[in-house]
């Protein structure tokens, strides 16, 4: 931004560090042409009645009207909201608690850290399949508990339309909390030892130190984590496909799957583009306030 306000007598900002700027031209072009260009193209075509192939015959807001009238889209949005809220809360809470426990100078910390982070090394497809088997009533958790003698035990979230989204949430948390823990742990390690000593001298209980001193000091880490989790939530697709393919019925559908299905299976690009534009708006709602908090106003970071 400052580059635009010239005339203060200083040398031209554009020419500073020229080599670096020239070197980054390809990346800037990639970003502008592919990301920005692709986005604009998608938004423009979402106002057309493109079927299998894109064509420019505009139909106004028809695609959006149909989208918001489709029960499947509404269910997708509800699922995303539920999944998003709980996965945000639980992965932050569990991740932070694990990190705090890990920070108590325990033995074998490396081993525990590896174990916790390990699920993150698996793709969502593998995670989904593993949990599909675990939650399958015929040979998963339910059948094991029943074979132990508790005959009436019933646990089949993936086959119950009312709670299926929580079955997916379990798998997502198992996969994702390890990463959150590592980020938090890095944040905790960045806190000066002297702060802890001072708190101890003042006789502040440990939980209070965490809540009132440490967490506010970790604001940067929290915001970064929040953005990583949030963008993961909006694009959730493969986990659902691997675990339930949107079933039972359409009970565990998510927006990204709607986009794919309508673009390719239904051969209705316009409808898919309208849905993906709505997803873009969701992401923008998350990213813009963050970017403003982080970079806006020239204030220094926390």
């Amino acid at each position: 931004m400052t580059a635009l306000t010239r005339g203060s007598g200083r040398p031209n900002q554009w020419l500073r560090n020229l080599n670096a700027k020239i070197a980054s031209i390809p990346m800037i072009l990639t970003a502008v042409v592919i990301f920005l260009g692709g986005t604009i193209w998608t938004v423009v075509y979402s106002f057309t009645n493109s079927k299998l192939l894109p064509r420019l015959s505009f139909v106004g807001l028809d695609q959006y009207e149909r989208l918001w009238a489709a029960p499947r889209w509404i269910i997708s949005i509800q699922n995303l909201a539920l999944y998003g809220f709980f996965s945000l809360v639980f992965s932050l809470v569990i991740g932070f608690v694990l990190a705090a426990l890990m920070d108590q100078k325990i033995r074998f910390e490396n081993t525990f850290r590896t174990i916790m982070l390990y699920p993150f090394a698996l793709s969502f497809i593998v995670t989904g399949l593993v949990w599909q088997w675990l939650l399958n009533p015929q040979f998963g958790i339910q059948s094991i508990v029943r074979s132990l003698g508790w005959e009436s035990f019933s646990f089949d979230p993936l086959y119950d339309a009312d709670i299926v989204i929580y079955g997916i949430l379990i798998a997502a948390l198992w996969q994702g909390t390890g990463l959150v823990m590592c980020l938090m742990l890095a944040g905790l390690r960045g806190i000066d030892e002297d702060i802890w000593k001072a708190a101890r001298v003042d006789g502040i209980p440990m939980w209070k130190t965490y809540v009132l001193i440490i967490i506010p000091m970790m604001r940067g880490v929290f915001i970064t984590t929040l953005v990583i989790i949030a963008s993961g939530i909006v694009k959730v697709y493969d986990l659902v496909v691997a675990q339930t393919s949107g079933g039972p019925g359409i009970a565990s559908e998510v927006p990204a799957k709607y986009v794919y299905d309508y673009m390719f299976q239904a051969q209705n690009l316009g409808q898919g583009f309208a849905a993906s534009t709505m997803m873009l708006i969701t992401v923008a709602i998350i990213i813009v306030p963050w970017a403003y908090l982080e970079f806006g106003g020239g204030r220094k970071r926390g």
């Binding site: 029960p71 499947r72 086959y159 039972p248 019925g249 359409i250 309508y262």
Partner: protein, 411 residues
């Protein structure tokens, strides 16, 4: 120096695929991956290889819903295969209109397809603006109820002869711990089962008014309300089918864990692979035993426009091989479908196929929904019925209202 050798290695990896693909190699993509289907497609490959060309198999697992997007994006993305399966009808319509598919009119006139392909509606579905763009290979009909004789014996009730008897036998099956009706979780299965119920219960005329003429008043009317009532029965009977794929659901019938399944005649291939005999181990009821009508949808091969001349020639050879009488018999016997030409000898066909041939000869045929509706409307229908079958709290009346809306918006 180092850079050059690297470039050489890169060039080698790029050149390799071209080296492998000889002029007469033709990659054929399809979604025939279950046991019976794979056995049938091997017959096609054998027949094509016998012409001196080579069939490069490009099977894509996961049924048409998964395979078609891959095929379409390969064709639109400039990496076309030699030939590809589609259900003939409207699935490839826009690809043809965009000039991406090859016109087969020459081959068709030379080999007189107009005379030999029966019923004629099959070739009509391949024809766009007077030109023929696909080679039909089989007739598949959806309108079958497959019953496990063993399951009914276990439940102590006679094997039903029509849909009403089947519904009545439901409680007895349930008591014996058998799922009365197997419906897999893939959305197209629920939608297909509904179409079958419609033609069986409301009849051919109503079916045509709804799907061919897109008459929303009929779709919202009393006849279709009856169909939704039957779909409600089907939903109740299908409770507990915790499988996804259609062949897993068929397997429940084969093993006697389920009483029956509404599925197209491709299910027959699975019974055959399992070594079961029509009439002895399983029973088939065309048109659910109510209205003996079958749809003449099916599979066809489309040929993308290729620049390579040798490959284009091989495409012609493949097209005529597919309609060759010998190939037709060998393929369709394994697949459990009916041949597209009326002049071939199917003496070795089993009971169920003979029933199908009889109905075909009588002319009790309708067009398949893939031929009548666009992929978009089909998908909306799938969304509706997969929700309906999975969600017992959705009333038939609500579902019918939404069904009528889909028909009203269909093009």
């Amino acid at each position: 120096m180092k850079l050059r050798s690297l470039a050489g290695a890169l060039a080698a990896t790029v050149a390799l695929p071209f080296g492998l693909a000889q002029a007469t190699d033709l990659e054929v993509t399809h979604w025939w991956t279950s046991g019976g289907e794979a056995a049938a497609v091997a017959e096609l490959a054998k027949a094509f290889d016998a012409t001196g060309n080579k069939w490069v198999d490009g099977a894509i697992a996961g049924s048409g819903g998964t395979a078609r997007p891959i095929m379409i994006s390969r064709i639109t993305g400039g990496d076309p295969m030699g030939a590809t399966q589609f259900n003939h009808g409207r699935q490839a319509e826009e690809l043809v209109e965009a000039g991406l598919m090859r016109d087969l009119t020459d081959v068709a006139t030379r080999e007189n397809w107009k005379e030999i392909v029966k019923p004629a509606s099959l070739l009509d579905s391949c024809t766009i603006e007077g030109k023929i763009y696909c080679a039909p290979v089989n007739i598949h009909s959806w309108q079958w109820l497959w019953l496990s004789n063993a399951a009914f014996k276990q439940a102590g009730v006679p094997v039903p002869k029509n849909w009403d008897e089947f519904v009545a036998a439901g409680p007895a099956l349930e008591k014996a711990g058998i799922i009365p009706l197997a419906v897999g979780g893939q959305p197209w299965q629920a939608a297909g089962a509904f179409d079958v119920l419609m033609v069986a219960i409301a009849g051919k005329d109503v079916f045509e008014q709804v799907f061919a003429k897109k008459d929303e008043e009929v779709a919202a009317g009393a006849e279709i309300a009856k169909v939704f009532k039957a779909a409600d029965d089907a939903r109740r009977l299908s409770k507990g089918t915790n499988v996804q794929d259609w062949n897993q659901a068929t397997n429940l019938v084969i093993t006697g864990k389920a009483g029956g399944q509404i599925m197209g005649d491709w299910a027959q291939g699975e019974f055959q692979v399992a070594g079961q005999k029509a009439g002895v181990d399983y029973t088939c009821l065309p048109g659910l035993g109510v209205n003996e009508v079958i749809s003449t949808g099916g599979d066809a091969f489309y040929f993308p426009l290729l620049e390579d001349e040798e490959k284009s020639k091989a495409q012609e050879v493949l097209a005529s091989t597919l309609l060759n009488p010998k190939t037709q018999v060998a393929f369709n016997l394994k697949k459990g479908s009916l041949p597209v030409r009326g002049d071939v000898d199917l003496a070795t066909a089993n009971d169920c196929m003979k029933k199908g041939l009889e109905i075909l000869a009588k002319g009790n045929v309708i067009q398949g929904t893939d031929q009548l509706l666009s992929a978009d409307s089909q998908k909306q229908k799938e969304d509706l019925f997969s929700e309906f079958f999975a969600n017992p709290s959705m009333t038939p009346e609500d579902a019918q209202k939404r069904f009528a809306e889909i028909i009203a918006a269909a093009d």
